[in-house]
Symmetry: C2
Subunit: 457 residues, 2 copies
C-alpha cells in the first residue's frame, strides 16, 4: 500500500451540519484510492462543508460506499480527489461503528477492483440462483419492487451472451415503469432496469465477445439482475480505462442528449436553451454541445448550481423564474435561440418557448414537474414553433443495432477522453435495493445498484 | 324575366321561430335568380324551417341580401336553390317594409351582376376619393375601425395594377389585427383586410392583366378599400363562371386547408381529425380532403351541424365533449388517425391528441377558444406526438409568388367545379362596415364587405 501523508487529514468532518469524529475514514479511503493508482495522496480537511479534499497525482475514478444510515463518496474533480459524506447522524456512535466495521470490506473490495484479474476469480456460479429485481404488480415503487431469486439463464444460444451485471443506475423512468405510468407496460412479472454495465460470462456460437469483456447493456433489455441472457447484436467490448460507474450511465442520458442535439440540427455557434440543466440529460447536453461548438443557455432551480454547470462548459446559466427572456437579454444581449430541450414541462415549457426564436423547435423528453404543458396557441402559430416529444425507446425501436452501437461507442470514447462525465451519488449492493430506491426517489444524483458482490472471491 | 311557378311559393315563412308574411320575397328572389340563368325555377315552401327551396335547372350561384335587421340568402345546394332567412323580427311590419323596399335595389343589382359588361359601365372615378377601412390605433374593433376617404392611388408603375375591390370577407384575423393581437402589428394608420376579389382598373407597363379582369387579392395586401394599388406578380384573371363571393374567400381559408393537408403528407385512404369543422377552414379541409381521397373525423359543437357537414363530404362527425376516443371507436372501430387540425385550442387540443395514433402530428392554425393548450408531456413523449403551428402569412412570406398563384389557381378551379364552396352569410356595403363588423363578431358564417356600389351606374 502506498504511503499517504497524514499531516492534513481530517480527523473530524461535518456531515449534514453535524460534526462527526471519523478518524479512519478519509485516510483509509485515500490510501486505498492511492493504492489503486500507485501514487501518494495528500488529504486535507474540508472547511466545515462535509467534504475533504485530497490531491492525487493521477487521474482517479470515483468511489463510494454506503453504510446503513449514511453515504460516503470519493470522486475526482479535476486533479483532486474529493471525499464527501451525507447521512443520518442522529446516532453518531452507531454510524461510526458501522463505518469503521465497513473498512474491512472496503479495503477488500477496493483491492479486488484495483486488480484487473479479479473478475476471473469471482467464480460466478452457473448453478444455484441469481438475484433479480422485479415487479409482479404496478404501484408505488417502495411497495411493488421485489428482490427475488430466480434460476440462472440457460446456456446461451447462437448469437447470445450471458452477462454478469456489475452496475445499473436507478432512473426516474424505472420508477415510472413500476408505477405503470411509463410508455410501455410489460407483462408481469417484469424485471426492471434500463441500462447498465456488466461482463460477458458466457458467449454463444458466433459471438465475437469473449468471457470477461465489459459491455454496456443498452436500453432494450431489463438488467436489474445478477445475470441476464441477451442477443449479442450491437454489444461491444469497452476500453479498460473507463470506470464501471461511468459506463453504467452512458446508454440512456448521454445517448438521449446526443440524439436530441443531433436532431435539432444546430450548427456550430448556434444557441439552444434547456431546463433541468443539472439533470443527467441536462449535464450531458452541456458537455456534448460544448464539444460540438454549440452555445447553451441553461436553467436551474438553485443558485449554487450556476458555477457548477459553468465548470462543465455551460455558457449561460440562469435561475428558473419570471422574466426569463428579459434576464437572458440582460446577460447575453440579443441571442437567437433555435432549439429548446424540456425535461420539466408545466410553466417551464412556456418560458422556454418564449425564449425561442421564430421557427424554433422545442423537444420534450421528460416532465419532472408532473404538470401539463400550458402553451399559447398564438405563440405556436405566429412564431412557427414546433413542439415534439423525444423518447429514447422509440429511437431504439426504429434504429438498426449497428447504428445504436456506433452512437454508444462514440459516447464511450467521449467518456474515456473526459469530454462527458456522469455524476454518481452512491452505489448500493443489490440486496439493499429498497434503500437504493428510496434514495433514488429523493432525486439527489444518480444512484447505482451493484450486482454480484456475494459471488466475489 | 323568366317565368316562375307560383303554385308552391311560400307566402309565409318562419324566421327564428316567428312566422313572417313575406309575399314578395321568395318569388322575387327566385325569379331574379332564374333570370340570371335563363331558366325557370320552381319554388316551394320549406317545412317550417325558415328555408324555402327552389329547384333550378341550371347551376346557380349563391346570392344574399341584408336588410337592417335581418338577412336573407339564396344559395345553391346540389341542384337546388335554397332560400333562407334569419334575423330580428320583433318589429315585423318594419322588417317587411324594409325588405319590400329593398326589392327595387335587389332587382337592379342582380340585373347588373348578370350582365358581363356591367363592369365597364360602372364608371369608377379616378379622381375624387376612395373609401378605405383602417385603424389609427389598436383596440376593440367596434371602437378603432374607421371608414375614411383617401385620395385614390397614383397611376400604377411598371408591374403594378390598380384594383377596384368588389368583395372582401371579414375574418377573425382582421379583428385580431385591429386589437393588436395578431402575429404582425403594422405601422398605424393601417388599412385592414386580408383577402378579396376585385377587377383590374388600370394596369402598369409589363402587366399581362387587362382592365376588367377579375383577380384575387391575396393575403399580403390590405384590401378593405374601394381601390388598391399592388404589384401584379402572382395575380391572374379568374374564369367568368365563378361567383365573386366565392372568389373573395379562396385566398385564406381554402388555401390554409389545402396547405395543411399537403404538409400532413396523408396518402389516400388515411384518416385525420379536426375540430372547428364547420368553420371556413374546417369546411374547406373536408371538401379538399374528400377530393384527395382522405378520410375525415370532424368535431362540431351543435348536433344540427352533423348532417350539414356529412352533406359536404365529412366521413365521421362527432360532437365535442368527453370520451371522444371511445365515441369515435364506437362509431368507426379502430381507426388510425395520423393528423389533427386544431382551430380551437384549450381542452379541445388534448382531445385531438388523445385520438391521434402514435407518431401523429397536430397542426394548430387558430385558437378560437382563447384558451391555452393543456397537454400531457408523457402523451407527447411516449406517443411521439408532434405539435406545430401553421400561419398562412409565414407560408406566403417564404413562398415564391408563382407557387402561391399556382395553388390559388388550383383552388379557383376546384371552386369552379364545385369541389369546394365557401359559405357566405351576407354581404354589407362598405358604408355599413360598422354593422358588418358587429355581425362578423357573432361568428355566424362569413360576412363580406361590398365595395364600389356608389360608383355603379
Amino acid at each position: 500500500m502506498a504511503a499517504w501523508s497524514s499531516t492534513s487529514v481530517a480527523s473530524e468532518m461535518t456531515v449534514n451540519g453535524n460534526m462527526m469524529h471519523l478518524p479512519l475514514t478519509i485516510p483509509s479511503l485515500l490510501a486505498l484510492a492511492a493504492s489503486r493508482h500507485g501514487k501518494s495522496c495528500r488529504a486535507m480537511a474540508g472547511a466545515g462543508t462535509g467534504t475533504a479534499t485530497a490531491r492525487c497525482g493521477a487521474e482517479s475514478i470515483g468511489w463510494r460506499r454506503r453504510c446503513s444510515n449514511w453515504v460516503f463518496a470519493v470522486r475526482r474533480q479535476g486533479s483532486e480527489l474529493v471525499a464527501s459524506g451525507r447521512g443520518d447522524v442522529r446516532n453518531r456512535a452507531a454510524a461510526q461503528r458501522q463505518w469503521q466495521g465497513d473498512q474491512v470490506a472496503t479495503a477488500r473490495t477496493l483491492r479486488r477492483r484495483a486488480d484487473p484479474s479479479a473478475f476471473d476469480r469471482r467464480q460466478h456460479r452457473r448453478s444455484g440462483s441469481v438475484k433479480t429485481i422485479q415487479i409482479s404488480k404496478y404501484g408505488r415503487p417502495g411497495e411493488v419492487i421485489d428482490l427475488v431469486d430466480v434460476a440462472p439463464p440457460d446456456r446461451p444460444g447462437p448469437g447470445e451472451v450471458i452477462i454478469a451485471m456489475t452496475l445499473a443506475p436507478i432512473h426516474p423512468a424505472d420508477l415510472l415503469l413500476a408505477r405503470g405510468f411509463y410508455g410501455v407496460r410489460p407483462k408481469l412479472p417484469a424485471v426492471l432496469g434500463g441500462e447498465g454495465v456488466g461482463r460477458v460470462l458466457q458467449a454463444g456460437d458466433g459471438v465475437a465477445l469473449k468471457r470477461g469483456d465489459r459491455v454496456l447493456v443498452p436500453n432494450r433489455y431489463p438488467c436489474w439482475a445478477e445475470q441476464i441472457k441477451i442477443p449479442a447484436t450491437g454489444l461491444f467490448a469497452c476500453p479498460p480505462d473507463v470506470p464501471d460507474d461511468q459506463l453504467a450511465l452512458v446508454s440512456v442520458n448521454p445517448l438521449t442528449a446526443m440524439l436530441m442535439l443531433d436532431e435539432s440540427r444546430l450548427t456550430p455557434g448556434r444557441c439552444f436553451i434547456q431546463n433541468a440543466a443539472n439533470s443527467g440529460v441536462g449535464r450531458a447536453v452541456i458537455m456534448i454541445a460544448r464539444a460540438k461548438g454549440l452555445r447553451s443557455v441553461n436553467l436551474v432551480r438553485r443558485q449554487e448550481l450556476i458555477p457548477k454547470l459553468k465548470s462543465i462548459g455551460a455558457d449561460i446559466v440562469l435561475l428558473e423564474g419570471p422574466n426569463l427572456k428579459q434576464r437572458l437579454a440582460a446577460e447575453a444581449g440579443a441571442v437567437a435561440i433555435d432549439a429548446a430541450f424540456d425535461g420539466v414541462a408545466g410553466e417551464s415549457t412556456a418560458q422556454l418557448v418564449a425564449c425561442l426564436a421564430k421557427g424554433g423547435t422545442l423537444t420534450s423528453y421528460a416532465g419532472v414537474s408532473n404538470q401539463p404543458f400550458s402553451l399559447s396557441p398564438t405563440e405556436m402559430i405566429f412564431r412557427d414553433i414546433n413542439l415534439r416529444g423525444f423518447w429514447l425507446v422509440d429511437w431504439l425501436t426504429r434504429t438498426a443495432p449497428e447504428i445504436v452501437a456506433e452512437r454508444l461507442q462514440s459516447l464511450v470514447e467521449m467518456t474515456r477522453q473526459g469530454t462527458i462525465r456522469s455524476e454518481v451519488a452512491v452505489d448500493y449492493a443489490v440486496e439493499d435495493f429498497a434503500a437504493a430506491i428510496a434514495h433514488a426517489q429523493k432525486g439527489e444524483g444518480k444512484i447505482l445498484l451493484r450486482f454480484g458482490t456475494r459471488h466475489a472471491a
